[in-house]
Symmetry: C2
Subunit: 198 residues, 2 copies
């Protein structure tokens, strides 16, 4: 019933993350009725962003020029490197506003079932950095799923060397949440990770 | 902190209906890391859709060629015209699958506060159709808000002529909903619109 060009747009939008069929339809109908100049601008902005953004050759972050602004920022603590799974995780940690070290993007977790082996991740690059840069602590900030756990332990073992501290971020109850919303694993980890209150 | 081209994309996406800042960010980060060919295709589909889609000169529907496929469909009942506010409303009615007549898009509701007067709507076009086409019934399917009510009554008065039936779609309890979710106005309309059960 809908014209072909709208159906095509709906199915293209539907492939974007978090856009279901209903909101794809709503956006498509908005676009075809929107100001022609605005639609051109949106398309152009999209192409520009895709074209300009690359991965930082040092840390793997999303950036317009490599090395990225975090890697070249001399005010940041170069003795700390935080290892994350994806480039977007940097954003989450930056938003928390508490971390002032550097980053290293792994590009995934080890997952033999999905065919992801250690050599598919940016681990060799991290080892290179450990020899070249004056890194005192590697903070592992991977997920708490099976793959995240396995990768964290693999990394801790493989990176171990004299004078290098390897830590993993704390897992426990999320802020603002009650015990009744926590699953057993979260609770057991929160208990294990308990700290003395002075 | 984020590269300029990503922030620009986030704010452009944020302007689309139903896309808040969080999902705009998520989509933007997906786009800059997506396959370059796929991003070009999405941008192209968007531009194509905007370029091809126009309003049907007869009924006001969204279409690639005017008159639209509904206006030219001889299997549809040309004696019935359903008046809707927006072109997208046609889609909702078509999805219900019960209507087989024609449509007429008004383009809005009368709203003096917003500066929308009867002459800003496609009422004159509807009057022209009433003289040219063999229309026996005009079904008014506007919203139940103040503007929708006012416009419906205005239309009923202005279009009144011998041999033309003017109806308004029924308002009442939505399907699958209980009395406890209905506001007073909906309930009073549902009572007013009660029908005999045979």
């Amino acid at each position: 019933m809908l014209p072909e060009s709208i159906t095509a747009l709906i199915s293209a939008l539907n492939k974007l993350p978090g856009i279901g069929p209903r909101s794809a339809e709503r956006i498509a109908l908005h676009i075809v009725q929107a100001d022609s100049v605005a639609v051109k601008q949106l398309a152009e902005t999209m192409l520009q962003a895709r074209e300009k953004i690359r991965f930082c050759t040092t840390c793997g972050a999303l950036t317009e020029k490599s090395p990225c602004s975090i890697c070249t920022d001399t005010r940041r603590d170069a003795s700390l490197v935080c290892v994350v799974e994806h480039a977007v995780d940097i954003l989450s940690i930056e938003k928390s506003g508490t971390y002032r070290g550097k980053f290293h993007v792994l590009g995934g977790n080890i997952s033999p079932l999905d065919g992801i082996e250690p050599e598919d991740l940016r681990i060799a690059e991290l080892e290179k950095r450990l020899t070249r840069e004056f890194i005192k602590e590697v903070i592992i900030a991977l997920g708490t799923d099976v793959e995240g756990d396995a990768t964290s332990h693999y990394l801790a073992k493989r990176l171990a060397r004299k004078g290098l501290k390897i830590t993993r971020i704390a897992y426990g109850l999320p802020a603002g949440s009650g015990l009744e919303f926590a699953d057993e694993l979260t609770l057991s980890r929160a208990l294990e990770g308990r700290r003395e209150m002075n």
